[in-house]
C-alpha cells in the first residue's frame, strides 16, 4: 500500500483505502479503479492524498514515516497546551483531533 498525492495518480491504479471528504462523506470506495474522471472528483473535493495498492519505494516509506512523526508531534504539542481534565471532555477530544489533522495538512502544503 502506497500513499500518493492526488497529482501523482494515474489511470489504472487501485484505491487501497476508501476516500472521504473533510466532512467524512464517502467519495470513492476501496478497490475503486482510478480513471481520469475520479481523479477530477478527488481534486474537486480538495483531497490531497490517497492510499493506492502497490509496493512503496524506500523514499516513499521515508516520507510516510515523516508524516506519522509530524502528526504525533503536533498532537503532543497540542495536548501539552490543554489541561488534564480537558482531555476527558469528548468535545475537546474532537477539537484536538480535527486540529491535528488540519495543522498537519497546513504544514504539508
Amino acid at each position: 500500500m502506497i500513499r500518493k498525492n492526488a497529482s501523482e495518480l494515474e489511470s489504472g491504479m487501485t484505491l487501497a483505502k476508501p476516500v472521504y471528504d473533510m466532512q467524512g462523506v464517502l467519495l470513492l470506495k476501496e478497490k475503486t479503479l482510478i480513471n481520469t474522471k475520479n481523479i477530477q472528483v478527488l481534486k474537486a473535493w480538495g483531497v490531497s492524498r490517497v492510499w493506492v495498492e502497490g509496493e512503496a519505494t524506500d523514499e516513499e516509506r521515508d516520507v510516510e514515516n515523516l508524516e506519522k512523526r509530524d502528526l504525533k508531534a503536533i498532537e503532543e504539542e497540542l495536548t501539552q497546551r490543554l489541561g488534564k481534565e480537558d482531555l476527558q471532555d469528548p468535545v475537546m477530544n474532537v477539537i484536538l483531533k480535527t486540529a491535528v489533522k488540519l495543522i498537519a495538512e497546513r504544514t504539508a502544503h
Binding site: M22, D89, V91, M92, I95, A99, R106
Partner: protein, 290 residues
C-alpha cells in the same frame, strides 16, 4: 521563577489610557456618520473618498474573496449600498487596527505579529461560528474577534517591561495571560480593552464583548456574542493560529457550547472552514498593506 511586580496603581492605568491613540480622524468621522440616522450613503461616500488610502482599501476588501460578490464593485457608493453602514464602519475599523499593530512595532515585533495572527484567527473563527449558527450580523463578530485582545496591544506598547513579566510568568507557569496579568497587574487586558473601547466610542456591544470575553456570563444581553468570541478563541488556539502571548488552550465553557449549539458532529466541517478562510483573509490583508 518570576518575581511579582508591585501592583500598578489605578491612577497610573488611567493616565496610560489617556495616552492611548485615538482612531484616525476619518474613521472617527465615519463612526459619527454611521451613528447618525440622518446620514445618507452619499454623506458617507464623501468622507471616505476624501481619503485615497481608505477608498482603495475599501474597494479591495469588498472585491476580495472574503465577501465573494459575483460582480466587481467599482464605486464607494456601490460598496456602501451593498454592505450597509455598519459593515463599512467595521471594515475601516479593521484596517485601522491593522495599522496600529503594524506601526507600533519596535522591540517586540514578532510577539505583535503573533498576536495579530491570533486576533485574525479569532475574528475568522467568530465569523464562521456566526454564519454556521445563522447569527444575523457576522461582521460584528469578525470585528469583535479582531479587537478582543486589543488590551494586550496597549499593555505591550505602553507597559512593555511589565507586559514582558506577564508573558514570562505565563510561559513558565503554563497559565493563560489573563491569569498572569491578575497576579502581576491585578487587572487584565479585558479591562484595558474595555477602557480603550470607551475612549474610541465603540458600540456598547463591542465594548461588552471585549470586556467579558473570558466571562461571557457577565456580559448581560451580549452574553451570546461574548461566548462566541470565547469559543472562537479556543478554536484559533487549537489550530495554532498565531499566539495570544501564552501557549494554552482554554477549557471549553460548557454553557457556551450548549448555547451556541454547533454539535460535535459538525466540528470537522466548521474547523476546516475556519482554516480555509483564515488562509484566504490572511494573505489578502497582508497584501493589502503593500
Amino acid at each position: 521563577m518570576v518575581q511579582q511586580a508591585s501592583f500598578i496603581s489605578p491612577s497610573r492605568i488611567v493616565r496610560k489610557i489617556e495616552d492611548l491613540p485615538t482612531l484616525p480622524r476619518t474613521v472617527m468621522k465615519i463612526t459619527e456618520l454611521v451613528n447618525n440616522p440622518k446620514s445618507s450613503a452619499k454623506d458617507l461616500a464623501r468622507v471616505i473618498t476624501e481619503d485615497q488610502v481608505l477608498t482603495a482599501r475599501l474597494l479591495r476588501l469588498v472585491n476580495s474573496s472574503f465577501y465573494g460578490f459575483p460582480q466587481k464593485i467599482s464605486t464607494v457608493t456601490g460598496a456602501i449600498v451593498l454592505l450597509g453602514f455598519d459593515a463599512i464602519r467595521n471594515l475601516l475599523l479593521t484596517t485601522s487596527v491593522f495599522d496600529m499593530f503594524a506601526g507600533s512595532g519596535r522591540k517586540s515585533e514578532q510577539i505583535q505579529e503573533q498576536l495579530w495572527d491570533h486576533s485574525l484567527g479569532c475574528a475568522v473563527s467568530a465569523k464562521v461560528i456566526g454564519s454556521f449558527t445563522r447569527y444575523e450580523k457576522i461582521e460584528e463578530l469578525f470585528v469583535a474577534g479582531l479587537l478582543h485582545d486589543i488590551g494586550k496591544i496597549v499593555e505591550m506598547i505602553y507597559m512593555p517591561t511589565e507586559y514582558e513579566k506577564v508573558t514570562r510568568l505565563a510561559r513558565e507557569e503554563k497559565v493563560l495571560i489573563a491569569v498572569a496579568e491578575e497576579r502581576i497587574f491585578n487587572f487584565t487586558h479585558a479591562r484595558v480593552g474595555q477602557l480603550l473601547a470607551k475612549r474610541w466610542n465603540l458600540p456598547n456591544k463591542l465594548e461588552s464583548i471585549i470586556a467579558y470575553h473570558h466571562h461571557p456570563e457577565k456580559a448581560g444581553r451580549f452574553s451570546l456574542e461574548a461566548g462566541i468570541i470565547q469559543l472562537a478563541d479556543l478554536f484559533c488556539r487549537a489550530l495554532m493560529m498565531g499566539s495570544g502571548g501564552d501557549q494554552r488552550i482554554p477549557s471549553l465553557n460548557q454553557n457556551v457550547w450548549k448555547q451556541v449549539a454547533i454539535g460535535t458532529e459538525n466540528l470537522g466541517k466548521l474547523m476546516a472552514e475556519i482554516e480555509k478562510e483564515y488562509r484566504d483573509i490572511r494573505s489578502f490583508l497582508t497584501n493589502a498593506q503593500d
